[in-house]
Symmetry: C2
Subunit: 220 residues, 2 copies
DNA sequence: TTATCACATTAACCAAGGCTTACTAAGCTA
DNA sequence: TAGCTTAGTAAGCCTTGGTTAATGTGATAA
């Protein structure tokens, strides 16, 4: 795995992320430009570069996909990012919504040894503070069978294992409800009109969660 | 404190380091060029930049000195470097000779919160694995009262707190003796002819240490 | 089946950062 | 004060990552 510039790494991340969020696994120039806050022309240039480095499959006017090495690179960055997030959250008592920004910097530190030792130090965690799976060194990604809270039948119990949205506004709203990874919930009622869900927490509190909240909470 | 580029930070570090190694506290362009592995002309350019940012006192053809803010910046970088070294050594089991390179990268991460939390996590250490003082957030630099093992009177007890030499041959020899940071020693006898010192460890072992070893062990 | 339009590419160019060489200026010292 | 060492200036190179404006492509709707 060659050494990439910070920007190159961020493009790889962006492509990976888009690939995994829009079902098809194929990514357009415009989507990348959008994500990277830049112009399509800039993206085309970068795609040529990444293609020369064999990190992406790229043909003019066609959609983009990561190659095997490209995917490996993306997973390696993701691994670093999520391990650092876990470290910040578990050991340095950063809050949920603070970890991302700093991890964004730390993920670009180049040292295989560092990241393996960090993994060991953290006890080989499988999921980061947001419940996202931490890729293994070989690229395996732990698969979660988690479902969306919005899919849970009323009467059923479940446990929050992850969040889909990881932006501060969402995480802060969860904090207001006192909801966090690991919380056990019982779904009391689902309101058909707006998709709201009423749940009971372990502390016997009743909370009404909007549909938008419910589709961003992953539970088991 | 403004945000500096990686290179700017490294120049500041270099100037600080030269300032503190050549008694006078004044630094020449050539010395900086030497340390930074670059040409004097390049240094002149950078000095103009750093001077504009008020980090150094600089007048053409005169020696260079850090200003108060410049010194603060240097200490802040040093603080980060040494805290990361401590983390790598103490928590991730990096060896003495491995910490520097990685800390060199980590020291450029920008997050005041990160470094304060790291400090707290490590228990507010005063010295890094090499026994160098870790500057405080306000810029104070702990003064070590540690003495060389070679200065300890026979009969006195002491504890190893740092090593002066950090090269692997020395460290490997210490490992053979089973000596490490924190070991308590009793100085039994000092041999005047070659300066050797005979010590007793906590495990009641007796070890004879050469003068060269003794002048590279810092004890309290 | 072709006209259209969104999307992608190219070309030319910009700016910052960090560096170089070649030349010139300063200042110390004999 | 000559001569050497040291430092500064000017001009310019290269890389990275960006821009705009113009042009090319190809899916699709009429």
């Amino acid at each position: 795995m060659q050494l990439l510039s910070l920007t190159e790494e961020n493009y790889i991340k962006a492509i990976y992320s888009i690939q995994h969020s829009n079902g098809t696994g194929e990514v357009s120039v415009n989507e990348i430009a959008e994500k990277m806050q830049t112009r399509p022309a800039t993206v085309t240039d970068m795609l040529r570069k990444l293609s020369e480095k064999a990190l992406i499959h790229y043909e003019k006017y066609k959609k983009v996909q990561l190659t095997a090495p490209g995917t490996k690179t993306a997973l390696s960055i993701l691994r670093k990012h999520r391990l650092w997030e876990t470290f910040l959250y578990q050991r340095l008592n950063f809050s949920w919504d603070e970890v991302h920004e700093v991890a964004e910097q730390l993920e670009h530190i180049h040292s295989a040894k560092l990241i393996e030792r960090l993994d060991e130090f953290l006890g080989f965690p499988e999921y980061d503070p947001h419940g996202d799976p931490i890729p293994k060194p070989n690229g395996d990604v732990p698969v979660s069978t988690a479902k969306l809270l919005s899919e849970i039948k009323s009467g059923d119990k479940c446990k929050i294992v992850a969040v889909k949205d990881t932006t501060s506004p969402f995480l802060r709203q969860l904090q207001r409800y006192n909801l966090t990874i690991g919380c056990r919930l019982t779904v009391l009622e689902r309101l058909p009109f707006d998709g709201s869900i009423i749940v009971r927490t372990e502390k016997e509190e009743q909370i009404q969660l909007s549909e938008k909240i419910a589709v961003n909470l992953l539970v088991l």
